[in-house]
């Protein structure tokens, strides 16, 4: 195959990726967009096998190894993606992103070993960039995975002198980068890789649980840029286009997410350097709360005219999306006005709730976005908060200095009655006490969201 044809097919794959991102930006075309992206990736992968790089011949060297490795990747990747539960998708995306970053770093290292002394300075700089950012993306994503999987604490990990350690690691990493560029050689590169991995860990540790999605998105954009840099070293236009696209769109997406959460990107990434550990929770635990039975809840709902359902991560954990729809349908049948109030970052990822409720066939027009639903809480008789906490926490508006301060919230406190379905009094993902739980117009229904909702549904049926 000629170089021209090879590049042309590569360009076609690049166009597929642009169409994929475009398609993914609109609900109607999203699925098609994803499939177009997959087609582009398949074309790009197949065509490499038919084009011999300079000084090489077909079939590719190490052909068996290449095919075998792809098979292993498929055998690991596909079942992981198929079997994962809705609730665990965010961490799987983080993990996939991490291995992508790791792959980019490995590619850069191999190419560096291969080029040896023949590498020019620009290539070495691109390699160094890929190794640093790829390794940071890899180790950082692993930490986000551990946080989301709750294999480690979801709270910011801040240790004394932490910021000096991080700054020191960063300085050492940059020094190692300069060393590689000047001295060349394998050892400096390995030291650089090790320092970058360490920096990735330290960089993500202080990020609080609720901000993790933003960090995943940022690391995703990082990985894109490393792919672009690899494309430069390997002289592949396709990799440059694909990597840059992801880098650019990922950056915008990160900003959009940060805006949806009312955070500045800078504050998210570096807030933990300055934040003091949150206190004043312990004493609050003892305060009285009003807890009710499923029957109490059913009665309250039966005489309501307007009910807003606010779903959160607890709904996803309990897999209660079908039950909540059953409850909504029942209320609608009784002539009660029902809407779902969807906070942009409810759950563990923006859009998490929409995906979950769509699975239960909840009609689109019942889903109300935050700006739409907030002005209506004044006319709402009952707000049912199902497994959500931080997204309705008034502390975001009233307590300057708390980790979620400034995040827009669903103002359920304006509703006449508030029902919280909770597993326990444990604070939400961000680890902040919620004053609303102690509000006199709040009723708590403890237990698994699905079990509780089922009881409420049967109680409501009998009324």
């Amino acid at each position: 195959m000629s170089h021209f044809l090879y590049s042309l097919i590569g360009l076609a794959a690049g166009v597929c990726f642009i169409l994929a991102l475009k398609g993914l930006s609109t609900p109607k075309t999203a699925r098609r967009g994803n499939i177009i992206g997959a087609i582009g990736a398949t074309i790009a992968t197949l065509v490499v096998f038919f084009y011999a790089q300079e000084g090489e011949s077909l079939p590719l060297n190490n052909f068996g190894w290449i095919i075998g490795a792809i098979a292993v990747g498929v055998v690991i990747g596909v079942p992981a993606a198929r079997k994962v539960q809705m609730t665990q998708m965010p961490q799987l995306v983080a993990l996939f992103n991490g291995v992508g970053g790791g792959a980019a770093a490995l590619v850069a290292i191999v190419e560096y070993l291969h080029l040896g002394d023949t590498a020019n300075t620009a290539e070495v700089i691109a390699t160094v960039f890929t190794v640093i950012v790829g390794c940071v993306s890899f180790s950082g994503s692993i930490i986000t995975f551990l946080k989301l999987q709750e294999l480690m604490t979801t709270r910011p990990v801040v240790f004394p002198g932490g910021r000096f350690v991080i700054a020191g690691t960063l300085a050492a990493t940059l020094a190692a980068a300069v060393w590689v560029v000047i001295e060349l050689g394998t050892n400096p590169l390995m030291i650089l890789a090790a320092l970058s991995l360490l920096f990735g860990i330290l960089f993500v540790l202080p990020v609080g649980g609720a901000d993790v999605p933003i960090v995943i998105s940022l690391l995703n954009a990082f990985t894109g840029l490393t792919v672009a840099a690899s494309g430069y070293v390997l002289d592949s236009t396709l990799l440059i286009i694909a990597g840059t696209l992801v880098g650019a769109s990922g950056t915008i997406l990160t900003r959009l997410m940060a805006e949806a959460m009312g955070r500045s990107l800078f504050g998210t990434l570096f807030g933990a350097f300055t934040a003091k550990p949150q206190e004043a929770t312990g004493a609050a635990e003892e305060r009285p709360v009003r807890s009710g039975s499923p029957d109490d809840v059913a009665i309250l709902l039966n005489y309501a005219r307007r009910v807003v359902i606010v779903p959160g991560f607890g709904l996803a954990v309990a897999q209660a999306q079908h039950t909540v729809r059953e409850l909504a349908d029942l209320m609608l049948a009784k002539g009660i006005d029902v809407a779902y109030g969807i906070h942009p970052v409810a759950g563990r990822m923006p859009g998490h709730m929409n995906v979950l409720l769509a699975e239960a066939n909840v009609p689109y027009d019942q889903l109300a976005e935050m700006d739409e639903v907030n002005p209506t809480f004044g006319q709402t008789d009952v707000a049912i908060v199902i497994g959500a906490n931080d997204v309705v926490n008034p502390a975001a508006q009233t307590t300057p200095g708390c980790p979620i301060y400034g995040m827009p919230i669903l103002e359920v406190s304006n509703a006449a009655n508030i029902i919280f379905l909770k597993r326990s009094m444990r604070p939400g993902f961000a680890g902040i006490e919620n004053e609303l739980l102690y509000d006199p117009k709040t009723m708590l229904l403890f237990g698994d969201a699905k079990a509780s909702l089922t009881k409420v549904v049967s109680a409501l049926k009998n009324l």
């Binding site: 475009k22 993914l24 930006s25 490795a69 396709l238 650019a248 769109s249 949806a260």
Partner: protein, 97 residues
Amino acid sequence: MEPIAIISIFVLAVFVGFEVVSKVSSTLHTPLMSGANAIHGVILVGAIIVADHSSTNLELGLAVAAIILATINMVGGFVVTDRMLEMFKPKKGGEKK
């Protein structure tokens, strides 16, 4: 390739990337991130190229690891994105829009 050609491609791709996602509703943030994540799995192409011209066992070993990781990223990424979006498809006839 000419440096100016590379820089041109890079700059134009940045603008395209900004442009295509600038107006996306928060509903689609997660699938879009996941889809973009799958797209950078195309580093698989780079991993295959370096595996092709690996001359030592060390190089080959690292290249094979890179291929495995990149394949997981690409294939797994597209599959998981499809699963997220599967749930958006209208199933009931009664729904408008």
